[in-house]
């Protein structure tokens, strides 16, 4: 009665092309070809992003049969494989707390406002830890480009924001809840929150918005919060190469990291070293959806290796 049967784990570890999915186990040999091929094909930045973003991948599912969309095809296949072999990656609560503590300590060092809070469960009176960040932001700062000129005026107002990152025991993964208010205390509408999604992903979210961000009741406070649907989070974790079973192996030496020096110095891949802390990797992946900024220094916070 383990968390996953061995069969499932096997299904997860294999990509649709039969290769091991996780980069760190076989290091360079299994990971690099994928990254290289992306280079060779001259894949656009957007396509690279799609790799890490399951919504995008699913949206491309319709093109599966068209040979002209090779990269899209590959992505959709792996997404389909993930769908068949779900459930996939899971994080234990203890791991979540470890990663959250790690994130918090880096946050303290750069003073960007994350704090680790406790909630006492009314049922068994256990304390549950979760991350909180509150700030005020001018909205136009994170929607880098806007296709609609009329939304500029809308985007210029300052908003008060509050982010909660909790552990979701049903999905065994992190779960993000957030609220945004205008400075007069009025909650932003769901439509407004959708409109704030980064232009990179806007199209994908627009098509499936009711499965992306909706308003839900916060499990601790029983009040409405916006929430990124958690069922996708396990997919994100998987695509980032995380598994609760062997993630601690990441820390075995820095050797494999050196192999990815070129990745780490390439700003497009700056999230790769984040694999040290899957919570940060996950958060930086979903952040464009919820207007959150993750400082670049999270990327190599643990790295003792200086990249020049």
């Amino acid at each position: 009665m383990g968390p996953c049967s061995p069969k499932i784990i096997c299904g997860v570890n294999r990509r649709s092309d039969g290769q091991r999915w996780r980069p760190y186990q076989r290091g360079r040999r299994s990971y690099q070809p994928r990254a290289e091929s992306a280079h060779k094909n001259g894949t656009t930045a957007k396509n690279k992003f799609i790799k890490f973003w399951p919504w995008a991948a699913e949206q491309h599912g319709g093109r599966r049969r068209s040979p002209s969309f090779k990269s899209a095809r590959r992505v959709s296949q792996s997404a389909a494989a993930a769908a068949v072999s779900t459930p996939i990656m899971s994080m234990t609560y203890q791991q979540f707390v470890d990663y959250a503590t790690d994130l918090k300590s880096h946050s303290d060092s750069i003073d960007d406002g994350w704090s680790l809070c406790q909630y006492q469960c009314p049922m068994n009176e256990n304390y549950i830890k979760y991350l909180v960040k509150k700030d005020i932001q001018k909205l136009n700062k994170f929607s880098l480009k806007s296709d609609h000129s009329d939304s500029h005026t809308k985007n210029n107002i300052p908003v008060v924001r509050e982010y909660h990152i909790l552990y979701n025991p049903s999905y065994s993964c992190p779960d993000v809840f957030f609220n945004m208010w205008s400075t007069d205390g009025k909650l932003l509408s769901l439509e407004h929150v959708w409109s704030l999604v980064h232009y990179f992903l806007k199209e994908n979210v627009e098509r499936d918005k009711w499965n992306a961000i909706t308003q839900e009741i916060h499990p601790f406070f029983s009040t409405p919060f916006f929430r990124l649907h958690p069922c996708k989070n396990t997919h994100v974790l998987e695509m980032l190469g995380f598994s609760s079973k062997n993630n601690y192996d990441y820390d075995i030496g820095m050797g494999w990291l050196l192999q990815f020096k070129w990745l780490s110095t390439n700003p497009k891949f700056c999230s790769i070293p984040l694999l040290f802390n899957p919570l940060i990797a996950w958060l930086s992946t979903i952040s464009p959806l919820i207007g959150l900024e993750i400082h670049l220094s999270y990327g190599n916070k643990d790295s003792k290796v200086e990249f020049t």
Partner: protein, 266 residues
């Protein structure tokens, strides 16, 4: 697989008589609107059954407020539409000996309590809420193996079955979600716990088997999660459930349509 299909029919057909009345402060004009009576399915959700209620009252409020979102209140508590109607009724009346039927509910258009209840601008928000609850329930029961392999039209069957009150349509798909995948147990039992009088929901991982290897009973479950409650009574669908009921059986037969058991503990 659910064998006691009669129970499923009984619960599906459970209805509540409700009397809706517009808040006195919001009445615009001289004529007071008549109260509106409706039989509503316990298993359904308020936004799915309240179109007529809105139509009836909207002409009696200030024209400037007619476009605002309608919300419901019982004894000064805004009702969370994301909970099934039967759960809301049990939560706020089961302790109250004086609660008479029909259930008296106040209708509002103004002052939406956005810090307490979810916005419900359209059917999609109910659908999204309902389907994501189902998905979560399947994650708990089968590690999401069943729901994620269902086709979109099968998902639609579940939703339209609820929407149109069609038992056969809903259960033709839902029975797949109610089959234990290995042996005779789900992996976990999807349960939402409530204390009567408050809509605060708590959730923990519930196993269908107790530590001694036997099936977990409702009494054991409550003792485990509410150690400090003396002689608890557990209600769902307005029924006080015997403590020796196995939770696995309950999950298969007494779950609401979102596949969660909603238990009210007194």
């Amino acid at each position: 697989m659910a064998n006691d299909t009669e129970i499923l029919h009984y619960l599906w057909n459970g209805k509540l008589p409700v009397c809706f009345q517009l808040d006195e402060q919001e009445i615009h004009g001289i004529q007071n609107p008549e109260p509106f009576y409706l039989m509503v399915p316990r298993m359904s959700y308020f936004p799915l059954v309240c179109d007529k209620v809105k139509k009836h009252f909207v002409k009696h409020v200030d024209p400037e407020k007619q476009e605002m979102e309608m919300w419901l209140e019982f004894k000064n508590i805004p009702l969370k539409w994301n909970n099934p109607i039967g759960v809301l009724y049990d939560l706020f009346t089961i302790d109250d000996k004086q609660a008479d039927l029909p259930w008296q509910i106040t209708v509002h258009f103004d002052n939406f309590p956005e810090d307490q209840i979810l916005r419900c601008s359209c059917r999609e928000s109910v659908e999204s809420n309902f389907m994501s609850a189902m998905k979560e329930a399947d994650m708990l029961k089968h590690r999401s193996q069943v729901f994620s392999t269902m086709q979109r039209h099968q998902h639609n069957q579940l939703w339209t079955g609820l929407l149109n009150d069609k038992f056969d349509q809903f259960w033709s798909e839902n029975k797949k979600l109610m089959e234990p995948s290995d042996g005779s147990y789900f992996k976990h039992i999807p349960v939402h716990f409530y204390r009567s009088g408050s809509s605060v929901m708590t959730q923990t991982l519930v196993k269908p088997v107790s530590e001694d290897g036997n099936h977990m009973t409702l009494g054991e479950l409550i003792k485990l999660n509410y150690p400090s409650v003396d002689n608890p009574k557990i209600f769902t669908h307005g029924i006080c459930i015997p403590h020796e009921t196995p939770v696995q059986w309950m999950s298969e037969h007494m779950s609401y349509l979102d596949n969660f058991l909603h238990l009210v503990v007194i």
